[in-house]
Symmetry: C2
Subunit: 191 residues, 2 copies
C-alpha cells in the first residue's frame, strides 16, 4: 500500500537490532486518518469474506483494529497478555514469545467473545517472527471459529513469520512488506 | 449518557470486590458504534476547546481514544506501562498504582508526542481511585501542554477519584456515573 510505504519512508526510523520505529503514526502516536485508509484497503482485500469480528492483541493492535472494525461494521476483540481479575475464568489461553521484550507471556481471550459462528479477521501492527500472530490463530482455532485471514500493517519480510503463516494456508495481507532495512540506508520494500 | 447507562444495565455484570465487568462492549470486546456515540457526546461537551490531541493509557483506553480522535479530527497518543526498547530514552515518566492488579508501574510517553502547544483531552474507560488519570495529568503537565479536560466512560462515583480530580479544577466529563452497585441489585447511577 503506497500511502503506508510513503509514510514509513517519511517518518519511520531504523534502529540497531532490526527495530523499525514507527511510533510517530502507528503504535504510540496514532494517525487515525491513515488507519482509515488502511482499513479501506483491508476491506477491499477481504471483500465478500463475511468477516463479522476483528481480533487483535493488546496493546498496539487495538487502535488499528477498532478503525478496521468500524469499516467492516462489526465488533473488535483484543486478546490480553495477562490474566486480570476482571476476566472470567472461562477463557482460551495460549503462550506467545515476545521478540521485542525477550519474554514468554500468556495470552487469553474470553470464550464469550470468540464463537464457533464467528468469521474472524486478525489485525496487528507488525509481523516479524510471527509469534503473536500464531498465538492469535491458536485462539481462533481453539474457539472453533473460522479464520478468514490476517491483516498486518508492516511485515518484516526478511524475518520468517510471513512465510511461516502463508505456508499454513492463511490468507495474509500485509500492507507494507519490508525487504530489508539499515540504519544508514533506510527501508527497502518488496516489489 | 443514557445510551451508555442502558448498555451497562443490559450487559454489565457486578462482581464481588467492586468490579463492574463491561468487557462485553467496552474493554475486551469493543462495540465501535457505541464508541462513536460516546465520541459525539464528548465532542459536544468539549466543543470549542481547541482539542488537538487525545491522550490515553494502554490498553483498554486505546480503542475509545481512537474513535474519539477520529471525531475530533486529531491524533491519539497512548501512554505505555513499561519501557520497551522501541521507545526512545526521551520520555516523560510517572508512576501509577493499579487498583485492578495491586501493583505500581511506570507510565511513559515520548516527549515527541506531547508538546507545549498541544491542547489535550484525556480519554479512559474507567475512573475509580483516579490513579491512572492522575498519572496522565502528570505527563500532560510535564510536557507543558494544556489540559483541556478528561472524558471517562464509567466513573465509579462511590470511589474518590472523581471528586479528587474535580477538586483540582479539571474539566471532567464522565458519561456514566455509578452511584452504587451490588451483585444482587445491579447498578444505580447518579442523577
Amino acid at each position: 500500500m503506497q500511502l503506508l510505504e510513503e509514510r514509513i519512508r517519511k517518518d519511520g526510523i531504523v534502529k540497531e537490532g532490526n527495530v523499525l520505529k514507527v511510533d510517530n503514526f502507528l503504535n504510540h502516536q496514532m494517525d487515525i486518518k491513515l488507519f482509515e485508509e488502511m482499513a479501506k484497503e483491508w476491506k477491499r482485500l477481504f471483500a465478500g469474506c463475511g468477516v463479522n469480528k476483528i481480533f487483535t492483541i493488546e496493546a498496539s493492535g487495538i487502535g488499528i483494529a477498532c478503525i478496521v472494525a468500524q469499516e467492516f461494521g462489526c465488533p473488535a476483540v483484543f486478546a490480553k497478555k495477562t490474566k486480570t481479575k476482571n476476566i472470567a475464568s472461562d477463557v482460551y489461553k495460549t503462550k506467545v514469545e515476545s521478540f521485542t521484550h525477550g519474554t514468554v507471556y500468556d495470552v487469553i481471550v474470553s470464550k464469550e467473545y470468540l464463537l464457533p459462528s464467528d468469521r474472524v479477521l486478525i489485525i496487528d501492527d507488525f509481523l516479524a517472527n510471527g509469534a503473536a500472530l500464531l498465538g492469535l490463530i491458536d485462539l481462533v482455532n481453539a474457539a472453533g471459529a473460522t479464520l478468514v485471514g490476517a491483516g498486518i500493517a508492516i511485515e518484516k519480510a526478511f524475518q520468517p513469520g510471513g512465510d511461516l503463516i502463508r505456508s499454513k494456508g492463511v490468507h495474509l495481507e500485509s500492507l507494507a512488506r519490508v525487504k530489508s532495512m539499515t540504519v544508514e540506508g533506510g527501508v527497502e520494500f518488496c516489489r
